[in-house]
């Protein structure tokens, strides 16, 4: 089976600094990868490179076995979704219109959104708990609602590969779990691949099967969560001593 996403000897830099050096990574359908690191370690930069949105310094990124350039922007967007950290929208629009933008790569140049597209968007909005808010104007949404609208847009796009930059930002605890459950279901039932930037190692251990640690100086470690997410490694990663608390099969990391 071809990997959904593959990085080969990938070197990514920003502002004259290396984010990761010669990174090798492979994400198969159904696999979930957590990317962890300190603020400013370059997690978002790496994620947008993996999404084909910025050039790598060296090495290559393959989407389903081919480079982004050989797919072309539209064909790539049919398979790969990318959720950015929230940004301000200068023009007001409704929640439903925003979610519908996810259909763009699936529509031809002269197509208008069909009823089926609207139904997909409504279903996605219901899935993230925004049912009944379709006609709300986006500036009136709270930070958490906006975050869930971004996710609904991504679900409406329905890609195979999900690249998510801090999908849990602004969310309360119950919505954090709800969002992770939605994503896990897409991976399980839709054979989707997930790569997401997370700040909570416990949730990463619970919802992902691989983890990538970015140390901020170009060095990195990747592997199964059970091996990579350990108290000594995470203490070094965050520069703060952490200890592990186990509850059955689950492990949580708390500041010492």
């Amino acid at each position: 089976m071809t990997a959904l996403l593959e990085a080969r000897q990938l070197t990514v830099g920003i502002g004259g600094r290396e984010v990761c050096r010669r990174l090798d990574l492979c994400l198969a359908p159904g696999e979930r990868l957590a990317i962890l690191g300190r603020n400013g370690a370059g997690k978002s930069t790496l994620l947008s490179t993996l999404a084909g949105l910025r050039p790598a310094q060296d090495g290559e990124v393959l989407l389903a076995g081919r480079t982004y350039a050989s797919w072309g922007a539209r064909a790539a967007a049919q398979q790969r979704g990318w959720m950015a950290q929230s940004q301000a929208d200068p023009f007001s629009s409704t929640v439903l219109e925003t979610a519908m933008t996810g259909r763009h790569p699936h529509l031809g140049r002269w197509d208008w959104e069909s009823q089926a597209d609207a139904d997909l968007a409504r279903a996605a909005l219901a899935e993230v708990g925004l049912a009944g808010m379709e006609q709300r104007e986006t500036p009136s949404l709270s930070g958490g609602e906006r975050q869930r609208l971004s996710l609904a847009t991504l679900l409406t796009q329905a890609p195979q590969l999900y690249l998510l930059d801090e999908p849990l930002a602004h969310l309360d605890l119950s919505h954090q779990i709800a969002v992770l459950e939605i994503l896990a279901r897409r991976a399980r039932e839709g054979a989707a691949g997930l790569a997401m930037v997370l700040h909570e190692p416990g949730l990463a251990a619970r919802y992902c099967d691989q983890a990538l640690l970015l140390y901020g100086d170009g060095s990195w470690e990747a592997g199964p969560v059970a091996e990579v997410l350990t108290a000594p490694r995470l203490s070094q990663l965050y520069g703060h001593p952490l200890k592990v608390v186990a509850d059955g099969a689950e492990r949580w990391f708390i500041p010492a």
Partner: protein, 326 residues
């Protein structure tokens, strides 16, 4: 998000209003012409005494006003998308400033209308290329850099315009001021601007849905499969050439390019597939009516039409702002 059917209905309604404004422009003036006579003269009836006035004076001017209003409104809507800034208008990037320098220079030199138009268009092109070149310099071409470059070029052009005004002899001042405020009395040939309007809409139409995404954000649009760098260049080119054509024909008519896109956004939503043609029709209608007023309210004197668009535009815009606090 409008359906295709609703979009067609809205555009038909606006087209009717546009037709109404054009017929009004043919009827009103120092010699008033009745509706049947105006239509008969249009149809080619040469027996009427006022037929010549309608056909060779009022019709070209009304069509030029319509085309320029449409061009400015489309250019404004495109600039707002390009800069992701609701306060952008066609002049924010210095295009009218460049045209102004050219036009005033030509008037100062005593060139005929054709020369004024030629230099105005060259000035606009110069400003377009200067802003593009400078903002493009490091390849990043960010909205902020583009906006700042444009504003600075516009300020420089403003200084040159002020310099020329202060050096100009009394006899040429009125001509120069009318150009700066926007004036259609010199607009003899409407076809270049009508053609430009059709071209601008035809070029923008295939990319209208991609523009919707671009207005929401560069990276998000790129992730959804929009070739953002090419698209931004295209938008800049369409908006700049539309603005250059409009100011060459009518001078720096204000406010159409700012308020018409906003009015239409409030009325029909922010889907560029509907917004761009709707803004073209509404902008054309508004400028045609404003120009008709400009040559009739204090007849036989003619006011510069830009004064009227501003007098109508300012209160309408303030009203809209107070109704829709952001």
């Amino acid at each position: 998000m409008p359906s295709r059917r609703r979009a067609v209905a809205v555009l038909l309604l606006l087209a009717l209003l546009a037709g109404g404004s054009l017929v009004t422009a043919l009827m009103a003036g120092s010699i008033s012409v009745s509706l049947p006579d105006a239509l008969a003269a249009l149809a080619g009836d040469t027996t009427l005494a006022q037929g010549e006035v309608v056909r060779s004076l009022r019709l070209p001017r009304a069509l030029a006003a319509f085309a320029c209003g449409g061009l400015l409104a489309v250019a404004g809507a495109l600039m707002q998308v390009l800069l992701r800034n609701p306060l952008a208008d066609p002049y924010v990037l210095g295009i009218s400033g460049g045209a102004g320098v050219g036009a005033l220079g030509a008037i100062l030199l005593g060139l005929p209308v054709l020369g004024v138009n030629l230099l105005a268009f060259s000035g606009a092109l110069g400003a377009i290329l200067l802003v593009f070149g400078l903002a493009h310099g490091d390849g990043s071409w960010t909205q902020t850099r583009l906006l700042l470059t444009g504003v600075i070029v516009a300020a420089g052009c403003g200084a040159l315009v002020a310099l020329m005004l202060s050096l100009a002899p009394e006899s040429k001042l009125q001509n120069m001021l009318y150009w700066l405020m926007g004036d259609l009395s010199q607009a003899a040939d409407p076809w270049p601007s009508l053609l430009a309007l059709g071209l601008a809409l035809a070029l923008a139409a295939p990319f209208a849905r991609e523009m919707n995404l671009l207005a929401r954000g560069l990276a998000a649009a790129q992730a959804l499969g929009v070739a953002v760098f090419g698209l931004r260049r295209l938008i800049y080119a369409i908006a700049a050439l539309a603005t250059a054509t409009a100011v060459t024909t009518a001078g720096a008519v204000g406010f159409i390019g700012l308020i018409v896109p906003h009015l239409m956004r409030l009325a029909v939503g922010n889907d560029q597939r509907l917004l761009l043609p709707a803004a073209a029709l509404a902008g054309g209608t508004l400028l045609t009516l404003a120009d008709t007023l400009a040559r009739t309210v204090v007849s036989p004197l003619q006011l510069p039409v830009g004064v009227l668009t501003a007098l109508i535009g300012v209160p309408v815009f303030l009203f809209l702002l107070s109704r829709h606090p952001r």
